[in-house]
Symmetry: C2
Subunit: 336 residues, 2 copies
DNA sequence: CGCGCGCGTTGGAGCGCTCTAATGCAATTG
DNA sequence: CAATTGCATTAGAGCGCTCCAACGCGCGCG
């Protein structure tokens, strides 16, 4: 920077002003400085800038795993807006473990990110509260009472209702649910499912199989269902990954979907629409969620304001894994 | 830091040593400093640290788009190893445009990342060379002669040969290829395909349909193929996304895969194995590629050594989208 | 004509750390 | 017993920038 100043015949401070596109610099000098910088191949040092300005133009994102398309797509949304606005993304994965998440968060805070986006965090509420007290925080997909952060949420009850309505309208009554365990959204969807079944006087037919938002959990659930004397006529999976696992497991056992069994997923991740999957599912607008999260975060960074909760409405996408139940009722399996 | 030093009754320098887990500090003081830091909730400032030490413990990753599972999975591999080793990831997406890529790279360099991983970059060779001259660079999936960077490559010729061998062994001769355009790997796969067809005396049956590594390109190719008087008996798609697009397009037109037409993909992204897709494809070990890239990069960062090229061998995964061609030869479509 | 004002510019302090060289001190050695 | 060695500790410079207060200067105004 000193070199540029010397080369342009101005002070270091002036170079700083030009590099930051600040007003109140004469066109003449602005051009001279730019030319000098160009000539010397000067590249401002963001570390020094951050240290002096106490602003990093950097946002931290913590998610479970990039290999899970749901998270990757949210990160994609955040990235898109961030690059438009000149923000940089510092990425950390928690691998669905609270401990690793905390470590990742601590590191981000050492880098003095201007804000943090936590996607479906697993951390305890108190850790989240502590983070939110230190830096602007936006949480996606999980709501925690009493934490001073912004929230981007999906109306899980509504999403679940859409699923049940759809299945019941088709004539299904024996509707099982493979749940997502304790991960964000899991308890909500399970709760909404149970309430919905009860409200429809189908509580007796309700069946929850515990899972955890992974394909393996779906395959596992398929195995368990096939081990029972009777299959339900429809399954509501906690998310598309679980649905994919179910689809695979049932397919291998020769169960026809949707002829013998209907399946509904949740998320509408990119694989869901593939012709050969063609999963009926609830769409969560991941990219939009990511963008909105960053938008709220940046707004929060420079305007101190009360925290907000943004609830997005999911929609049902009906594809080919759902159909009316078989006329002869639920499928009875021969004894294994 | 000053506060911690005062609280612990030692000098700032000693606090620095303790925070960095340096040797030659007495256990007694180490404990005192740690306690003081804990008590005051001291969090080291990574910016200041980087500025002073000229090391950021940060690595930049530039890829096309996180919403493309291939890239997300590579990023996932990088992230995994990075977090194990205490490195932070700064992420940028180029959206398949050289200009945006250059901008993202420039920003990363302002942040003084210790090194950069470029996944299938689209930039011109000279820009890549310039970057490699400034900072350690590892490129994944694209080789550029004369650039002083490390390379993690897949043997595209071998991968393509595996596909052709498989299809020819099944009895296919009319094998078309939907290519990936100019993106990394595209020209290589097309070239290997054409050479392979020639070597098998099938040059006359070769047919290249231009595409670009997206699902839309696959759907588009399906449309074009269906518009021709005669379909090939097998299609080798530039990647799984293209294959998925083809699958969708053909399915909608009522073409049975693999009964009437075989399809092979490339990458083996996570969707490929789903029961209802069950795509025969060439596996590229994405996570492994990501880890290896970071490994090479970090090694390069602290050991100045000549650059290396690591060639990984792909493998063929045979699933359900390939079968012997129909006995009555290639499918003839009724005139549209 | 002198004074205040605003614009463009500048010097210098300071952001929070690391790193080098120097220092103190106890143990080891000839 | 003085000299040497090695370990633990520290002072202080400096990393590359931003930001604040101050400054010079031309201009309008009383």
């Amino acid at each position: 920077m000193d070199d540029v100043a010397r080369e342009a015949g101005v002070s270091r401070a002036l170079v700083s002003l030009v590099m930051r596109d600040q007003p109140n610099v004469s066109e003449d000098r602005r051009a001279r400085v730019r030319a000098a910088a160009e000539r010397l191949g000067y590249r401002p040092n963001a570390m020094a800038r951050s240290l002096a300005s106490r602003r990093t133009k950097t946002v931290g994102v913590i998610l479970d795993d990039l290999r899970n398309p749901f998270f990757a797509e949210i990160a994609g949304g955040v990235e898109g807006l961030a690059s438009e606005l000149g923000y940089q993304l510092l990425l950390g994965a928690g691998g669905r473990q609270a401990r690793r998440e905390r470590a990742a968060l601590a590191t981000l805070l050492e880098y003095r990110v201007d804000g943090v986006i936590l996607v479906s965090p697993r951390m305890r509420a108190r850790d989240l509260a502590a983070a939110a007290a230190e830096v602007p925080v936006v949480m996606v997909g999980r709501h925690v009472r009493g934490v001073d952060a912004d929230f981007v949420l999906i109306d899980e009850t509504h999403g679940t209702e859409l699923v049940l309505e759809h299945l019941v309208a088709l004539g299904h009554e024996a509707i099982a649910h493979v749940d997502g365990g304790k991960g964000a959204g899991g308890p909500q969807r399970r709760g909404a499912y149970l309430r919905g079944m009860r409200a429809r006087r189908l509580a007796a037919r309700a069946q929850v199989i515990s899972g955890d938002f992974t394909e393996e959990a779906g395959a596992d659930a398929a195995r368990r269902l096939l081990g029972e004397p009777q299959l339900p006529t429809a399954i509501f999976a906690a998310n598309d990954l679980v649905a994919a696992g179910l689809l695979g497991g049932l397919d291998r056992a020769g169960v026809q979907v949707p002829a013998e069994l209907s399946i509904v997923g949740y998320d509408n991740i990119s694989i869901a629409h593939l012709a050969h999957v063609s999963l009926t599912t609830v769409d969560q607008p991941r990219t939009e969620m990511g963008r909105l999260a960053l938008e709220l975060l940046l707004d929060r960074i420079d305007n101190r304001r009360p925290s907000v909760v943004r609830m997005l409405e999911p929609t049902l996408v009906v594809r080919s894994t759902t159909a009316v139940p078989r006329a002869d009722g639920a499928l009875t399996l021969p004894a294994a």
